[in-house]
């Protein structure tokens, strides 16, 4: 399984109901179903990913996250998961509120734009970072809302979300001493577990 998914699955209790936003090929939901009796749905818009979900027997719904989660009732899931999609949606703040409404808890992962490589690239070249890990040019990229760990935690504060658990990892999803020491500078990917203001 994808390394970040392996970390996430550990945070999802057996038997829970999960909504996976941008579920990709359905790998996480299929694994959780087979190993932890988890039920739920994945939302996805990429046709090939949707086809892969169907092949795996994963409940996949073709739905654009930018149109919100209005079709899901409040508190209808134990966990709402969104991996590597926060930076690609049009209204991250509104989607975050929706996630907190629909799920009792949320797991969100995103690339950290405050990582020293991004900072160094911008500082030394004066241009938006392009790397193997973030390979897009600024004008042609799905990633329209980059943020740093600090930024994300500020958003959590403003949305009234409580951070229950955080993990900063490198691109291979290892969480060594460096990213623990100074996450916003040395962590490349943030993995957060949060809950809503009223919980």
């Amino acid at each position: 399984m994808r390394a970040d998914l392996d970390i996430i699955q550990d945070w999802i209790p057996a038997g829970s109901r999960v909504l996976d936003l941008g579920c990709g090929n359905g790998e996480l939901l299929a694994w959780l179903r087979d190993h932890k009796q988890v039920s739920g749905y994945g939302l996805e818009i990429d046709p090939d990913n949707i086809a892969a979900c169907i092949d795996k027997g994963v409940n996949v719904i073709e739905q654009n996250l930018d149109l919100g989660l209005g079709n899901f009732a409040s508190d209808s899931f134990d966990m709402v998961v969104m991996t590597q999609a926060l930076q690609a949606v049009h209204y991250p703040d509104q989607l975050m509120k929706e996630m907190l409404r629909v799920g009792r808890q949320c797991i969100i992962t995103f690339p950290n734009f405050g990582h020293w490589r991004c900072r160094w690239y911008l500082a030394s070249k004066g241009r938006m970072p392009v790397s193997e890990f973030l390979p897009y040019t600024w004008y042609n990229t799905p990633n329209i809302h980059f943020c740093t760990f600090e930024d994300f935690e500020r958003l959590c504060q403003e949305s009234g979300a409580r951070v229950l658990e955080r993990l900063a990892v490198d691109r291979d999803h290892r969480h060594g001493w460096a990213s623990r020491l100074w996450p916003n500078l040395l962590g490349e990917i943030g993995i957060y577990r949060v809950t809503g203001p009223t919980r």
Binding site: S39, Y41, P47, I50, A51, C53, I54, D55, G57, N59, V60, I61, E62, Q63, N71, F72, A73, S76
Partner: protein
Amino acid sequence: MPTAIPADSVGLVSPQVAHFAEPLTLACGRTLADYQLIYETYGELNASRSNAVLICHALSGHHHAAGYHSEDDRKPGWWDSCIGPGKAIDTERFFVVSLNNLGGCNGSTGPSSTNPASGRPYGADFPVVTVEDWVHSQARLADRLGIAQWAAVVGGSLGGMQALQWTISYPERVRHCLAIASAPKLSAQNIAFNEVARQAILSDPEFHGGHFQEMGVIPKRGLMLARMVGHITYLSDDAMGTKFGRGLKSEKLNYDFNSVEFQVESYLRYQGEEFSGRFDANTYLLMTKALDYFDPAAANDDDLAKTFEVAKADFCVMSFTTDWRFSPERSREIVDALLAARKNVCYLEIDAPQGHDAFLIPNPRYLQAFRGYMNRIAV
């Protein structure tokens, strides 16, 4: 027929007839004492009888869904693109049953059949049948064929409504429901179009209150108009534009009302003409009523999610982007209700230019998803 039967065709098929002597009480309160259903089957029923798939047809459909009736057939059955060896509904794996619904005009008991009470054709005396009635009659056919539970019930448009109704009326008897280009009920606009079609038929002087058969005539003009208006709703604006544009039949405009000038006029007239020669006007009236009346949530305070609570099936719902007759929004109503009822469901919105008709047209993504879903059904 093509010079040779394609390898992925079910080949030459013959319809069979099941006769039912036990009375069937209908939603309207009337009872059919005696009736028959015509059907075709493709593939083999396995030993555990777990691989049966029911195909439900749409407004003008019938039992001949796949293969050819004779060497002289120009075209195969209406859903041949999806039913056959290696196709989405793989007849190597599944035993497929396709019938003509009650009230139809292709061999099942309907308005053009003889009314045993009078010895004359039923005509307008044939009772109004509903989607629920059809599902009950289909359940009796399943009993007759020894099928306790369908691996899947599949249908497009009005056929999708029957598939949905199956999961509500007989939750134990269907494992998977595929509702394609369908809707949980008709909108006012849908009903309005149906009413125009009905008025076209009812106001034809040859209709004779529905007893035209006894008079030896058919309300051809009315049926033709009904089909023309219906056909417009099956196609998207783009599809019509691409196919006909403003193309003319002749070189110049005639400045009169008698000639067929635009290509699209010619096409609609041809479709209407062809249809009025093969379809029964009373059946058309019945089918549009069945559509109008379908509203399973009505019995549950209009709560569709609550309506689906009894269902035990897994669902696959598909819609097409340019379908404005049963638009993607209508399919999403079904999906949202299924989500709220915590049912297993997959939903796809297929990008296709053809409008409502897209469910009959091979489209790579549609066929891939259809096949993908069917393949995962355990038999």
